[in-house]
Amino acid sequence: MIFVFALFLLTLLVITALAIVHTENLFVAVMLTSIFSLLMAANFFILDAADVALTEAAVGAGVTTVIFLSALALTGEREKPRVGGRNIALVTVGVLALLIIYATFDKPRLGDPNAPVHQHVAPWYLEKTPEYMGFPNVVTAVLSSFRGYDTLGEVFVVFAACIGVLFILGVRPPRESLEPRDESSGLRHHLIPQVVGRLLVPFIVLFGLYVQFHGEYGPGGGFQAGAIIATGVILYALLEGEAEALRAVPRSVLLGMVIGGAMLFGSVGVVCMLMGGAFLDYSVLAADPVWGQQLGILIIEAGVGMAVCGALLSIFHAFAARESLS
């Protein structure tokens, strides 16, 4: 039964992908990308990857769509007409697709317990997580402790991406119309979205905090929580206007969150070294190694959440500020 459902979702995924390639209206393409992410999230959920599904739904279907839309507001809605070169692209894609299909013949069957990926380190993680960390979500344990270096790298990638976007978009265009957007922006005059939105924003942020601090016991963690909280603030910005959102969470706070989150993660590693352990070995943080691991994971997840939330909101505000200038 689940197999049929997965097949159905994958078919929809292929149809959506073809539609994205086919459409020339970029607005439609953005909406289809959002649908693609949502279908992908459902697929991940079928494969029992609840954490990844939550990330895909929050980042792929949620925040990315908003950022794409704000980018579209700066450019045009229509794709530029193509100028030749189509056959080369078609041949390249065709050859690559055939190669990938050929490669899948060697792939082990879905869920095969003898697949190499289930034989290497995964059994050790599954066995040792309750013993070392004392909580059930193995994904969080792998992400933040066993593979802490990778996550630290990811946080710095987020940090670097945010700085890059701010450098590109933060340049002021040489124009006189630099007065900030007037106060009537946003959906201020639309009573129904405003009332409903105001009702929802606190609950969205609360849910984000729940995802953040419940990550050890259920699906979730810093990445998802950061994206969800950013969505709440973006909703606030859409309702009340961007200026009001910046008054609530100023740019300096956002940049502080990005930098502080990355620094918090790194400094936990340094503290671990100072207390006599290896870099990012949280066991030495407390007298009881299990409690030390939990404390370390709690702190670095908070750092990840801060960095992701700050980066997404900074990028959103960078796009929105450009909109008000043009």
Partner: protein, 112 residues
């Protein structure tokens, strides 16, 4: 006895909800212009949500999942109609007239 009754009731609700989604989908494809189409699509936000979630809550019984389903249902019932309203409002503001005499959209770009 009560269990079988609840099971039958929940399946009736789930089937009706599924039918509402189907009707909404057919309407979204077949109806002539933008406003009639979002009218059909809004059926999936409201009636189908109510029916399907009521059916699922009966399946879950008195437990934590029921509470979660109730929370999700409230969220969907709040956001769905609001989104439909915002969509219709945006279409009206961008100049798409809800005219009874226009049989089809000539502007495919707005309807997508």
């Amino acid at each position: 006895m009560i269990d079988i009754g609840l099971d039958i009731l929940s399946w009736i609700l789930l089937t009706l909800g599924g039918a509402c989604v189907l009707i909404g989908g057919i309407g979204g494809l077949r109806l002539p212009n933008f406003y009639t189409r979002i009218h059909a699509a809004s059926l999936t936000d409201t009636m189908a949500t109510l029916l399907i979630f009521a059916g699922m809550m009966l399946q879950a019984g008195l437990s934590l999942p029921t509470l979660k389903l109730l929370a999700i249902m409230l969220f969907l019932l709040l956001t769905g109609p609001t989104a439909t309203y915002a969509l219709a409002n945006a279409a009206l503001l961008s100049g798409l007239k809800p005219d009874a005499e226009t049989v089809t959209d000539n502007d495919k770009g707005h309807a997508g």
